[in-house]
Symmetry: C2
Subunit: 669 residues, 2 copies
């Protein structure tokens, strides 16, 4: 924190908070030990002057940004080496360093080495045989080779079976010949692929003995290890500037008759023998595991985005004064405006609920993947369905929430020095990668209509959809008394009815003679709506259970705050889907007004603790990197300081005046 | 259009369209004459090689971008001079050249000279006396001086009375002494202020004879006309990088005892005499006129944004193939997916409805401002209320619509070569400037609750709120038969009820002892919700009236398409506010399902004409500037071409490899 005095408006907020922020900070970090580890890592990385920027990266050209980022990425890599040598490189460390918290404080537009650590190394670990791991892993861990993971193609994304890149086995030389036979089959998007990695796992359609065998992963050397020049047959480069993640060095890759040895195919799950005999994988569901793993992690990332954005906007709203409420008084802190509270506080609540849900589903994932390893696949479909819709909902809500926070800061939110544009770029990307959101919702819906049919047949469903059994026994929902429990129950009743409608529409189209798939496409909007409500019902249930449980474990002062957060979250969530509630539950105009008045009351109750609550997310000023959101609240001073770094302001008169403007202005004289 | 062959998937769409796109293009342009003018301007500006970019501007640094943009701005300025000399510089020409169509094709991130033309010159015309106009206007028109308009301050925006910059009249020297007494009073945001303009209209608190007189505009010279160096007492620069409008050269300005002659205060409305005597303005409502004018213009801009974004996404969706619907068939054009149609087609419909509404309200503005000039202010509050909420709704919907279109293109929409990031940056800015959206809605709501009270007292209301009179006579809405007319009527009934609730809540708080302003703040969310529905009811009514009227004037083939657009717009708008409909109108679950099925049917009916409909927005490839949205549909080729321009790809190995990466990789060896 800067030595400067703290802005009195924000200090006042801290003085009047009713709880101790450190208590929540420790909870948020995951316990006392993790809290301390976090502080140690911050010290190690944020006090190294080599990792500080004199010039905000938004002033750099694309090429300068890459060079700047690679330099820092190598310093981070060196420090990771050291942590690893000391045995201190746990999963949390990689998450912090390569993700949106500490990582973003150092490389806010992303790290070109991230995919090496989070995809290349884990793929070798997960899909390589023991021999292959011996051959490749230590080189990869030591960064003697830098890799990436090349799957998506220019013309092919979500539908993996559509990939065109092919690997033909040549038994004569015991090599695979890899080709991207068309422009649309160029590998596209892998991080670090442009100019950084010299190896990649390339996913291709495998052909042996002239027969198509499905997809397989191959380790391909892309660049010479000394000169870094592209290897023969490799057409490679950076895909260009983007909305966000600007220094990830996303690349493209064309392969023309690139030959790799037999042993470069990762063979843990499937094998090709020297003569070209193909041995199919025993179990294809295992790949679901990785996808679920990633999606569960993404849910936590969305919480982090909301925490950042709501911290910046809430602090700004404590300092910014505008538009008198009482004309006889000076302009108030804008956080006094109820409309402003409605923008900010639901985002704070969502950050907390998404984090709690992310942690919960993480535990659930661990339990279920343990079961899967024991050969018990019972809960796999349920878990898959849940992780899909939660990924979609949390990413969409987080991206919208970040924008709501930005807009709540007026024009100043539009400046890069607010950091909102970068946070948005990071957050909205999650809507697309690791399974496009609409596709995700359709996956969940496919599961929901299936189990709905089972429930109609009297089957008892697994826990996360058991509410469908319950709803089928109710003609209507009669117990809506406005209690939090009844809001949760109502969410489930509504979700069950959305699935009912999707199911009925699907049946109707089938009866009209459409095949199942065509019928599903026709009903697409019914299906996605059902999946959306399923996820929201789960979020409501989790928020209710987990936050109440948490309240029992903490001090009464913090418990009171958490209960307001819970109520705010549930009432706001309900009002945001009030059309669905009114459709399936008998509520009057007055009932709705009551909920709206209650929302207003939640906002008012959270107001005194809003700044302290975001403080207790404990986001370092460097992580926030925002003139609007610094801990000291000296917003205007920080904004003004940022203009001093602007290269345009280093000279009083820009050269273009003499070159272009003056001749133009004097032209007619 | 490029000579290359058109992508067969998109050609097929054009071959099977049921209407002639040129007919709609002419309508969209505003008639045959304007259509031709548009083509002439495009020829003049887009065929000049000096205005083409070899390198997409997203690859430039902030400083390079400014210099690049100023060069082009001067060329445009020179051409404007010529058009002006030929008497061909009508309002449409300035709109096209400085706005989001032709202007964006040349300077996609904005023109640093725009504010000179659209604010500096008009302010002198509107607020200068005849003598002052003689003195300043020809210099300004000739660009002998370049000006901007400096009103907003670092700490003060919407609430103009809060501005801190002050001008003290010194009768001894007959000068004003202008000061920004604090950091928060620095002028902030004016376009071109950073390094381009050498003059500005500075809005300041006027003091004469030690008495505060309110705000007044002063012409201040900022930079020396020969050297361009800042004048004494002037602290000036560029505010830095932003989410969008990156080459507008938004600036900051501090003034320290800057003296300007008496005659530099623009005195058409109020005067200061040589001895410091102050003559107050006769009529303060006149300033409403300019604000309304700008807001009406913004509504059309939002239509243009949606037209661009929906053109790009629709063309892409005709070419991109993904995810089989029928597993026995190849991957279909993604436009076949109903969920994709639901993303695209409502944006096309909104583009058309917002354009129609923008034109309509433009005419209304002209009628009413004619009345105002005759001294008849009757319709001013109504018009003000309407322009405020429409500005807020159209900008928010357009920004969200652009993002929906971007996300509908998956990862490729995230690349700058799609042009979505720039279009979004332009569009979302409208939510904040010229009256922040929430403030706008509150202005409308203030009017609505006022007239609601009048209606309760039996007064007959003016046309745009007459539906409130009608609703007061109805206990409930009984005639919802699903016809388009009944959807429009229902929208009005719902809007009236939202205003009723805001009014009741306001009264309740007053009865609880709160003053009107405090009560209004407490009810903020009820008020903004009422204003939102008022605007949406107006949009529904306008869409219904205007599109049906238009349908009668065009060919039957085009009329059929317009009717589908209308139905799609209304059903979608209704479903988006279905919570409000269910709250005030007795609708069953089945009624809602019926509307949802109908939406699906609208999508299906628009599907065959979707590409041709966006074609007929007639947006030049340079205006779209999108690898995804080019007329020829060669998406992958255009994306790939764009990577060839990337400066990072000009060398096979980036210098940073030798400098950073290689030492890092070899460190442990």
């Amino acid at each position: 924190m800067p030595a400067k005095e703290v802005n009195p408006d924000i200090q006042k907020e801290r003085n009047t908070a009713t709880f101790n922020p450190r208590e929540f900070s420790v909870l948020w970090a995951g316990g006392e030990e993790r809290y301390k580890e976090k502080k140690t890592l911050e010290k190690m990385f944020l006090e190294d002057p080599a990792l500080e920027d004199d010039l905000p990266v938004s002033y750099l050209s694309h090429k300068e940004l890459y060079e700047h980022s690679l330099r820092k990425a190598c310093i981070i890599g060196e420090k990771i080496r050291k942590l690893r040598a000391d045995g201190e490189d746990g999963v949390d460390t990689y998450n912090a360093l390569l993700g949106g918290s500490l990582g973003a404080a150092i490389l806010k537009e992303g790290n070109p080495l991230t995919l090496h650590y989070v995809m290349f190394v884990p793929t070798i670990m997960g899909q390589g045989t023991m021999d292959q791991q011996v051959e490749w892993l230590s080189k990869a861990w030591d960064c003697e080779i830098i890799g990436t993971y090349a799957q998506t193609e220019l013309g092919h994304g979500t539908f993996l079976r559509g990939l065109e890149t092919r690997a033909d086995y040549d038994p004569k030389t015991q090599e695979f010949v890899i080709n991207t036979p068309s422009l649309s089959s160029y590998k596209w998007w892998p991080g670090g692929l442009g100019h950084t990695a010299n190896h990649a796992v390339v996913v291709a359609q495998l052909y042996t003995k002239g027969v198509h065998r499905g997809l397989a992963p191959f380790i391909v050397q892309l660049r010479d290890s000394d000169t870094h020049k592209p290897m023969p047959g490799i057409d490679i480069g950076d895909i260009g500037t983007k909305l966000g993640m600007k220094s990830v060095n996303n690349g493209y890759l064309g392969l023309k008759n690139v030959r790799v040895p037999l042993n470069n195919m990762l063979m843990k799950n499937q094998q090709v023998l020297a003569d070209g005999t193909y041995v199919a994988p025993k179990n294809s569901v295992l790949t679901y595991g990785t996808m679920m793993f990633v999606r569960c992690a993404l849910i936590r990332d969305t919480a982090q985005s909301l925490a950042k954005a709501s911290t910046i906007a809430t602090r700004y709203s404590a300092v910014r004064r505008q538009s008198p409420i009482d004309p006889n008084q000076p302009e108030p802190q804008i956080m006094e405006h109820t409309t402003q509270q409605l923008k900010l506080f639901p985002q704070i609540a969502k950050a907390i609920v998404f984090k709690t849900t992310g942690d919960g589903i993480w535990n659930m994932y661990n339990v279920i993947s343990g079961e899967i390893e024991q050969g018990n696949l019972d809960r796999l479909p349920e878990m898959h369905a849940l992780s899909c819709c939660l990924k979609a909902i949390c990413s969409a809500d987080a991206a919208a929430g970040v924008e709501t926070c930005r807009l709540s800061c007026g024009g100043h939110g539009y400046m890069d020095c607010s950091n909102f544009p970068t946070i948005y770029g990071m957050t909205t990307a999650v809507c697309t990668y690791e399974g496009e959101n609409t596709v995700m919702l359709l996956q969940t819906a496919r599961y929901l209509v299936k189990v709905y049919g089972q429930a109609l047949n009297g089957e008892k469903l697994v826990p996360t959809v058991a509410y469908i059994n319950e709803a089928l026994t109710q003609q209507k929902f009669v117990n809506f008394d406005g209690s939090l429990e009844s809001i949760v129950k109502a969410f489930q009743f509504v979700a069950a009815n959305k699935t009912r409608i999707a199911y009925e529409q699907l049946e109707l189209r089938r009866k009209q003679g459409h095949g199942t798939e065509v019928a599903a496409n026709l009903c697409g909007t019914f299906l996605t709506a059902a999946a959306d409500l399923h996820g929201r019902a789960f979020l409501a249930q989790t928020a209710y259970t987990e936050l109440l449980e948490l309240s029992r474990q903490v001090s009464p002062a913090l418990a009171d705050v958490l209960k307001v957060v819970l109520e705010l979250y549930l009432v706001d969530a309900c009002l945001n889907r009030i059309g669905d509630f009114l459709r399936f539950i008998e509520l009057t105009d007055q009932d709705v007004t009551k909920l709206e008045v209650r929302l207003e009351s939640c906002l008012k109750r959270l107001r005194p603790n809003a700044v302290t609550l975001v403080d207790s997310f404990d986001l370092h000023d460097r992580v926030l990197d925002s003139a609007l959101g610094a801990y000291d609240g000296n917003v205007y001073e920080h904004i003004f300081e940022s203009t001093k770094k602007n290269p345009l302001n280093k000279e009083p008169v820009n050269g273009s005046f003499h070159k272009y403007l003056k001749p133009f202005m004097k032209a007619h004289l």
